[in-house]
């Protein structure tokens, strides 16, 4: 069962990478450091998807989150601060009450997730999912698929309208 041991090592490595860099995102003083830690969080989540046998989703996560959303957030950081301001600090407030609330939430969630006996249907060996996902999207989920495309179009036009300079 050395395969099993290897899986465990890989899982714990990426779990630590994900949660650790998420903690850096939340607690780092520097905005740029938060943004780059978010890169490792997204990467770790993509690796967890791959471990879960979701190959298409792992690739999608890399392309959209790392290539799209993260770059967008970095643009947001750059455009809303003066560039010569090297130490872009983000102020925090009400840290201790928030920490208490968050630890409470995490305690409750983790306790119930570990204690609940999930009626899991058993796992199946990982196989390529892309074709099956495409078929599901075109058959069972065609209406949400079209709605998502309309949503993207609306968001695109709306975002362009919001940032447009009023020239009149």
């Amino acid at each position: 069962m050395e395969n099993n041991l290897l899986t465990q090592i890989v899982f714990y490595f990426f779990a630590a990478l994900t949660v650790g860099s998420a903690a850096v995102v939340v607690f780092a003083r520097s905005l740029i450091r938060s943004a780059f830690a978010l890169l490792f969080t997204f990467f770790g989540v993509a690796a967890l998807y791959a471990l879960l046998g979701a190959d298409f989703l792992a690739a999608t996560q890399m392309v959209i989150y790392v290539g799209g959303i993260l770059v967008l957030l970095l643009f947001g950081v750059m455009l809303t601060h003066k560039l010569y301001d090297l130490n872009l600090k983000s102020e925090t407030f009400q840290v201790w009450p928030a920490l208490v609330v968050v630890l409470g939430v995490f305690g409750v969630l983790a306790t119930f997730m570990m204690r609940t006996h999930w009626h899991a249907g058993g796992e199946v060996p990982a196989s390529p999912t892309t074709a099956a996902i495409g078929e599901l999207l075109m058959k069972d989920y065609i209406l949400p698929f079209e709605a998502a495309s309309v949503l993207l179009l609306i968001a695109l036009i709306g975002a362009a309208m919001i940032v447009r300079r009023r020239s009149e």
Partner: protein
């Protein structure tokens, strides 16, 4: 043996960290990063349940839709942050209190 519970606990940790970011940060872009963490934790949950329910792919489909909505949300939210910066010259959420009586 790695089971469903392990993934759910990671997802709970990401969710809690995301809430921490949303609650404590003053910078609007940083709050957005917290929201992205929360959406990612929901996605891990969906994919984990998808794997441990005999390979039912519905969870992955919903994860894809969440990614779509997250992309749209990030674009619109960044647009709002940018126009807020243009109007009040800061992205500190405490300063955005024009509507306050």
């Amino acid at each position: 043996m790695i089971g469903l519970g392990h993934y759910l606990v990671i997802s709970a940790a990401l969710f809690s960290l995301g809430i921490m970011g949303v609650l404590t940060r003053k910078n609007a872009v940083n709050v957005l990063m917290g929201v992205e963490l929360i959406l990612n934790s929901a996605n891990i949950n969906l994919v984990a349940f998808s794997k441990y329910s005999a390979g039912n792919l519905s969870g992955q489909i919903f994860a894809i839709f969440i990614i779509v909505v997250a992309a749209a949300e990030a674009a619109v939210a960044l647009a709002i942050v940018l126009s807020m910066y243009r109007i009040i010259k800061t992205v500190n959420l405490d300063k955005a209190d024009t509507l306050k009586g």
